[in-house]
Amino acid sequence: MAEEKKVYTRTKGILPDTVSGFCPGCMHSTVHKIIGEAAEELGKLDKLVRVEGVGCCGLGQFYVSCDETIAAHGRAGAVATGIKRSSPDSLVYTYQGDGDLAAIGLAETLSAANRGENFTVIFINNGIYGMTGGQMAPTTLLGMKSTTTPLGRKAEEHGYPLHMSEIINQLTAPYYIERVSCDTPQHVIAARNAIKKAFQYQLEGKGYSIIEIVTSCPTNWGLDTLKSLDFLRENMFKEYPLGVFRDGGEKKQ
């Protein structure tokens, strides 16, 4: 009889005995899992510090198993600066949505990136405010309906979608910038590798990394889970192409 071989264990970075309470089709739980896996593979779960943004990102507190604080809306970049500068041995990441990182927290986001703060930003971009019920985000696509753009986002009234990875790529200090997704197993693996690489860079003291994860929000997009994946691939990826914008580690090889 063939011996049973364990091929998958749930990461210790997620609290045991918890069940995801996120909406069906939401990718937050996947991202929480791969963050836990990345930190666990690096043997740094006991040094991991999570700085949570406000919105659905702030629900991660019920699932993750690491030291964790909640920043005021948009301020994760500043809070993480304070923590990392005061406790350089900690492995610090922020977990922020598009409203948090790109609207109310734009100054804190860009300033922390520009200082090259040695922490990692996990940026969840689904083009909408989730927790408050589907309002326009800075990353909402043109024509996309939200509760505050009932006729769809219009460039002349609301401006254009904000491309945070591209904007941060204009700065000199950031070390690693990559945009990934979690819509397929391959993309999930790529996202986990990106997060792990960013963590590794932080441990080596290389400075600022941002991993932008383009995700779906079936609930507030008003689509079922499969159609929201189609929308993600057809529309979100077109506006927010996946790829590496900068990798300080690659450059030097």
Binding site: Q61, D67, S86
Partner: protein
Amino acid sequence: MAERVFMKGTEAIAEAAVRAGCRFFAGYPITPQNEIPEYMARRMPEVGGTFVQGESEVASVNMLYGAASTGIRAMSSSSSCGISLYSEGVSYCASARIPMVYINVQRGGPGIGAIQPSQQDYNQATKASGNGGFRMIVLAPDSVQECVDMVYEAFDYAERDQNPVLILTDGVMGTMMEPVVLPKMKSDEELAKCREKFLPRAIIGHPLGQQATCRPGSVGGGQEEKNIAAAELYKSWDKDIKVEEFMMDDAEIVFAAYGISARISRAVIRELREQGIKAGMIRPITISPFPYSSFSNLDFNRVKGIIDVEMSIPAQMKWDVEYAVYGRCPIKEVLRSGGQLLTNDQVKNGAMEFIKEVL
């Protein structure tokens, strides 16, 4: 005894913080407190600490929230309209019960106000420094020496209560120079001991099962329990009330003043005493918790009137005095604002008008 040095209020505050063990400072430029961040930018690296110039007051106070949540002694400073922007972060610290110290070197207000000194932020400091009805110990120094002593002890209060502590001073105290005796530098061992109580809660990474969480809110419920615990803490502060009762034994005219107004009133009281007028002063040293009983327990058969001296128009501390006096004697206001400094003569002239009426 330690050597007497001649220092500017802002720089003395910064040095006192360093000696108290402050190892993180974030701040944003605003007059009249710029020498504090400037001093810290120079001094922090010398003691292995961190200085960050925030991109705004909002960012600075949130950096403070982050740094203090690791359990090290952390401080920030700003002035009036900048302090308004601190409301968010201070409220978060109070909610998450994070010990930290911050300084308001008051200038004129409201709005951008005037860059000159004032005491225009009393209500904000003592009643509502942010949303949610939290309270803090607020210390009001009346000399550069007291600025130093209060900053030095503020960290102890903050750590004892795991709550923010505010030093409310003003542009006069911030910019003037006076002789001070500086306290001794706390050793690393002493600081490690200070940090001990908070360490299990410090957001620095912990082994599985011992993880620390810092919760400025209660998404999952339990907010009322947190509020009840905080209210218990606030009630326990009666023991921490500090008040100076100056020449009060036989006083018929009582000055009510804090900070810069109090030191001016003290000089005026001496002059009045030379003229045979029995004047005294109740000076709240902690303006929160406020020494209500010092006023409510006055012998109103003897006390003929109270003179509330503030560098604020409208009067603000007077509300607290009125609450305690409850109509038992008249209260006269002697006020300046908008960057106009009170002088001994102005206070004396204002007081004399009133004294003629009531005595």
